[in-house]
Amino acid sequence: MAQVLPAEHDVRRIIGDGDGVADGEVEGLDDAALLDLYRAMVLLRTYDERSVVYHSQGRVGTYAIFWGHEAIQAGSALALADEDWIFPSYRESAIGLLRGMTPETVLSWWRGHPAGWWNPREFRIASITVPIATHVPHAVGYAWGARLKGESACALVYFGDGATSEGAFHEGANFAAVMRAPVVLLCNNNQWAISTPLSAQTRAEFLADKAAGYGMPGVRVDGGDVLAVYQATSEALARARAGHGPTFVEALTYRCAPHVTADDPTAYWDAQRVERERENECLGRYDRYLRRLGVLSDELAEDARDDALERMKSGIAAAEALPPPDPEVVFASAYVDPPPTLREG
């Protein structure tokens, strides 16, 4: 019988604070890989910051800000093999950029343009899921199916702290354990579900504790520490690939931006706490770490930023240059074999 230890409570960290807490290291990442990871985070950060500006200019619609979540996304994505599938929520809308998707595609999604659709098989990235937690069982089913076929692909599913309250999360997690599905359940615990704080979402002190109830390991990691996220996800994937089934990873962070552009958090959040958390944001932490290691220079940092900005500039230009969508798209793809009355309305 499987034996599952109680979930970890100490938050895993690699990156120190340049003061009392010493820096650690991760195996398997050389300087070039560390810099690639930096560039990935800068790309995500730039995507996010530019999107908020584009929104204010009326160039993209309502947008789900992920500022401060880049470490969770880039760290976990780096741990994946190419064949592994990603199941994103709206919060990870730009995760495809880390797999070669263009900003034009993601921007189009937020512009309500069908050019924002992608073929999940092309990127091994499922469609962005808007309803909370409903994609957790999808990831589990994919991983289970791959295992049944003798394939080595795993799945990684992103969801929030609020999502752990939904039946779909619970049912997916239980299936994952029962079917020994090679899946990583990665909970972005940013401590808010819109205006609802974690304390009103659950009485559990640690979300990772939920894992024990499903018979799977639960891991807690500092979601602002990109290397710790990378390492925890790598371990979970190694377990999955070795046939030991799912892992629940709780990546702890704090949402320092509105839930979406349409949200006004001043009504419910603690502005001082937000200020403090902002100072400790994940890209700055990794930047300082790399400089302490002597891996990152001003020049390289600037190059990463310029490159990301350039990609955003051409991305928004390309998205805006797209012709209005063909109305035929409305009818094009709901069915393989549409009923003859499809166009009656």
């Binding site: 999604w109 069908p114 009103a200 009504a267 499809l342």
Partner: protein, 322 residues
């Protein structure tokens, strides 16, 4: 009377009703601290406390399931579903319990709970923020459904829903939340369930709709040379057949409009009622104008999907020229 937006009228109704009856409680995601993502519940937590305006965990089946138990314990829960498309997890509770429990007790228990939610498109939002799922609700035995089209009706129908001894779903067209404004009676204001409204009088053709499509029909009426009557259904169940059939008897022609996908939508029910009970009054076929049998499109294409006044007017001309 004061001029109010539809969402402010909803807020007003909640304040007035909660003041009147201390067993009423509002529950849902972000209804308390934030006052609701559309601010429909703003101020309730401060006024009535966190036990009567409850920020729930993020779980729609849990919201409606606990509301069943709360009703059994003597409360009148008013559940908010944050968006219609996020209400779908609650359909399990709605279908298996909310609509059946009274029946299951042989009438011994009442379930005076209300479910309110925004509905419909036209707001240029990401996927699954613009559905029109009224058919799922209205199809459920034991459940009543109202959809207002004006601020005054939003207040009055919600008050009626809250006071009704049966479960009632009130769907608020979100495209109407902030405009147009309308006169809303102060204090207690109840619009009884089961009474349609003649939104515009006319003689030649009846345009039948509910919610946001009432406004589309009023615009369509302006485009026609003939004289169009517009019937605002207001309550889908119980349906005011008398007003509907009376109008059709007068005009002899009917166009039924719904934003939801066509197949098995509530418009089909309206057409069936007219066909069964008034076929001899008709001078032409009853025509529907609806959404299509496809998911609500990406918002840059929503104007291709949501029925327009031009489409309604074209359908009316077809019936008039028959």
């Amino acid at each position: 009377m004061a001029e109010k937006t539809l969402v402010d009228a909803v807020n007003d109704a909640l304040h007035v009703e909660m003041e009147r009856d201390a067993t009423i409680m509002v529950m849902g995601e972000d209804v308390g601290r934030a006052g609701g993502v559309f601010r429909a519940t703003a101020g309730l937590r401060d006024r009535f406390g966190a036990d009567r305006c409850v920020d729930t965990p993020l779980a729609e089946a849990g919201i409606l399931g606990t509301a069943v138990g709360l009703a059994m314990a003597g409360w009148r829960p008013v559940c908010e579903m944050q968006y219609e498309s996020f209400s779908y997890p609650c359909l399990d509770q709605l279908i298996t319990h909310v609509g059946r429990y009274r029946w299951r007790t042989g009438g011994a228990m009442e379930f005076p709970l209300t479910i309110r939610m925004p509905t419909g498109g036209g707001v240029r939002a990401p996927e699954l923020h613009e559905d029109s799922p009224e058919a799922y609700y209205v199809h459920t035995p034991g459940v009543k459904v109202a959809i207002p089209s004006t601020p005054a009706d939003a207040k009055g129908l919600l008050a009626a829903a809250i006071r009704d001894p049966d479960p009632v779903v009130v769907m608020e067209p979100k495209v109407l939340y902030r405009s147009p404004r309308g006169e809303v009676p102060e204090g207690e204001h109840v619009v009884p369930l089961g009474r349609a409204r003649i939104a515009r009088e006319g003689a030649d053709v009846t345009l039948v709709a509910y919610g946001a499509m009432v406004h589309t029909c009023l615009e369509a009426a302006e485009l026609l040379d003939a004289s169009a009557e517009v019937v605002d259904i207001r309550t889908l169940k119980p349906l005011d057949e008398e007003t509907l059939l009376g109008s059709v008897a007068k005009t002899g022609r009917a166009v039924v409009v719904q934003e939801a996908p066509r197949v098995a939508g509530f418009g089909a029910e309206l057409v069936a009622v007219i066909a069964e009970k008034a076929i001899l009054d008709l001078q032409g076929p009853i025509v529907r104008v609806t959404g299509y049998d496809v998911p609500f499109p990406y918002w840059s294409l929503e104007h291709e999907y949501v029925p327009t006044s031009e489409r309604v007017a074209a359908a009316a001309r077809k019936v008039l020229d028959y």
